[in-house]
């Protein structure tokens, strides 16, 4: 169990993490989601007492990390793949970690076997691919057979087989009653692994909900219709009080009406339908909508006819307008810039 209470980290003027309060529970995989620069890694570093919070605390089973008597036996963490000395062999890297916590030497062989690096145990990690480095980092996290596991972007650089492996590993670890906390910026990845979601943007908590609830609340479901008699279909729908939106490729999209009802309606009016399919907007879209206002590094695609912008997007002032950020995502930046220029 990890408890964050009002966790805040300030770097100069910039709030990297802003009053984060949440709880990571055992027995499930908790996904920690946010766009790049949202403060995920900073939060994880504060959990491990690598960075000191400006305010707030993190409690690991009721204790501060630095009070843990045998930290690797309690928390295993994968921060970044290459947080190791490249000149040291995989075996020696794990050995020195094991020794520092009084973990039996035999355990090093066990975890190397678990992550499938036994064959390269004596090789220096400098020559490892990103995926192999990631596996070695995971081996280090598993070394103490800990009750809490934290992975920062664990699927980075893994091949499909490796991704499949780590997903199952995380699920199995959680099923054994451990606390599994995994960060990612990919909603699709989380949808496959996480049971619970904590979403942050610009250091602030945006959502703390179960995966099922998140899916229910955030994915827009609609029915897609295709018909050769589109005009008549629109009339019939309008007659029944149903609003339909015509898409660019000539489909109709209907929100809030069951596909069965639409099919029956079409049949009653003897309309030919080429398609009648219930759809759900992807979770990726839902996630992007949720975090749109807090994304720090936008890539700007110049709008057609829009004024060419003199500066690159990275210089954009990240602060949302004080009136609650009601500005539509995308328009916000330019408006901000013009405001700044005017003042």
């Amino acid at each position: 169990m990890i408890e964050l209470q009002g966790l805040t980290k300030r770097y100069g003027e910039k709030l990297a993490v802003d009053g984060l309060t949440c709880t990571v529970r055992p027995g499930i995989v908790t996904g920690f989601l946010g766009p790049n620069g949202a403060g995920k890694s900073t939060t994880m570093r504060m959990m491990l007492d690598l960075d000191r919070p400006t305010h707030g605390t993190v409690l690991i089973d009721g204790q501060h990390y630095r009070q843990l008597k045998d930290p690797l036996r309690t928390v295993g963490a994968l921060l970044d793949a290459k947080a190791m000395h490249g000149g040291r062999s995989a075996y020696n890297h794990l050995l020195c970690l094991a020794q520092s916590n009084g973990i039996p030497r035999a355990r090093v062989r066990e975890v190397l076997d678990t992550v499938g690096l036994t064959a390269v145990a004596k090789k220096r990690s400098k020559g490892f691919s990103l995926g192999m480095g990631q596996r070695l980092g995971i081996a280090g996290a598993l070394l103490g057979d800990p009750q809490i596991l934290m992975f920062d972007e664990p699927v980075n650089g893994l091949d499909p087989e490796g991704i499949h492996w780590i997903r199952n590993l995380m699920k199995n670890l959680a099923a054994q009653g451990r606390t599994v906390f995994v960060s990612s910026h990919l909603m699709s990845e989380m949808a496959l692994t996480a049971d619970h979601l904590i979403v942050i943007g610009q250091g602030r908590l945006l959502a703390d909900t179960s995966m099922a609830d998140f899916i229910r609340q955030n994915s827009r479901s609609y029915v897609r219709l295709r018909s050769p008699e589109i005009e008549r279909l629109l009339d019939v729908l309008a007659g029944a009080g149903i609003t339909a939106v015509t898409t660019e490729d000539g489909h109709l999209e209907v929100d809030g009406t069951e596909s069965a009802q639409l099919g029956e309606l079409a049949a009653r009016h003897k309309l030919v339908l080429h398609e009648l399919s219930p759809q759900q907007a992807s979770l990726e879209e839902a996630f992007m909508q949720l975090t749109a206002e807090s994304v720090e590094y936008h890539a700007h695609s110049a709008p057609p006819g829009g004024d060419p912008r003199p500066v690159a997007g990275a210089d954009a002032p990240p602060d949302a307008p004080p009136d609650g950020g009601a500005a539509p995502p995308g328009g916000g930046w330019g408006a901000d810039w013009r405001k700044k220029k005017g003042s």
């Binding site: 947080a83 000395h85 087989e161 054994q176 949808a191």
Partner: protein, 309 residues
Amino acid sequence: MTTPQPQAAHPAAPQTAPQAPPHAAPGYWPGTAPAGGPAGPVGYVSPIPVRKATLMDAVSAEWTKIRSVRSTIWTLSVMVAIIVGIGLLIAAGVDASGSKMTGSTALAGGFFSVMLGMICVLTLGVLTISSEYGTGMIRTTLTACPDRVRVLTAKAIVFFALTFAITLVSTALVAMFDVAMLEDQAEFAASGGEWLKVTVGTSLFVGLLGIISLAVGTLLRHSAGAITVMLGLVLAPLVVAMFMYTESLSSVRKALFEYSIPMLLSVFYGASGESSATSLSGWDPLWVIAIAAAVALGGAYASLLKRDA
């Protein structure tokens, strides 16, 4: 993906277990796995016996770290080669020339090679910690041992012991050769106390200089920068003093000269007394460098505790 998979919402393991690849075969994990997934806050209990980690654990970890990197082995080999090799060459040269070593014992021949070999300790001392910052290993280290004082103490113990042992063996070898080859040319016979100074004294001195390097590496976190600072610290005072001609600065000049690392070390090799430029004698250099090491290490502890890793 357009439709979310229903199983994402159900963590209970039955449908995930058969997919497990060979590495993560079910049942591999020892311990008490609750059978039915998340049934309340059930903790996991590891079967591996738990014991409190101690400073000795940190020391053995640091020993593994230092011996498992090639740069350590290379740097220390070069150091032994320089101290012993150049020490022997000098002894052989002085022996062949047949000239008198006025005002000193036969042991004085060992000074120059130790001075050169010491450079390796500066480099290695800095690298012992700065390479961890350079590679990101420091975050792994501090996660494994959040007690930062313990981490630096373990590093200091291991590095001091290692440099002391290696310098002791090298200087003892050189001293034996010097006495065997140059005894007849030296003005004074080497006493037991002087033997002790050029072996144990020099080794303690070099070890403490290593501690200063470790501290500077901790403070600066950057290998090249810290090594440059250490080289400057060792060489600059002497060089600056050499070019300080002005009469009004003569006291500064004298202090710079006296307390420069090469002059301090030379005291162990008999460069004291009225004929030399320094007023220090006996074991004084050791106290000077010990105080410097204590101050540097204190600063390193403070910095390590205060700053984010």
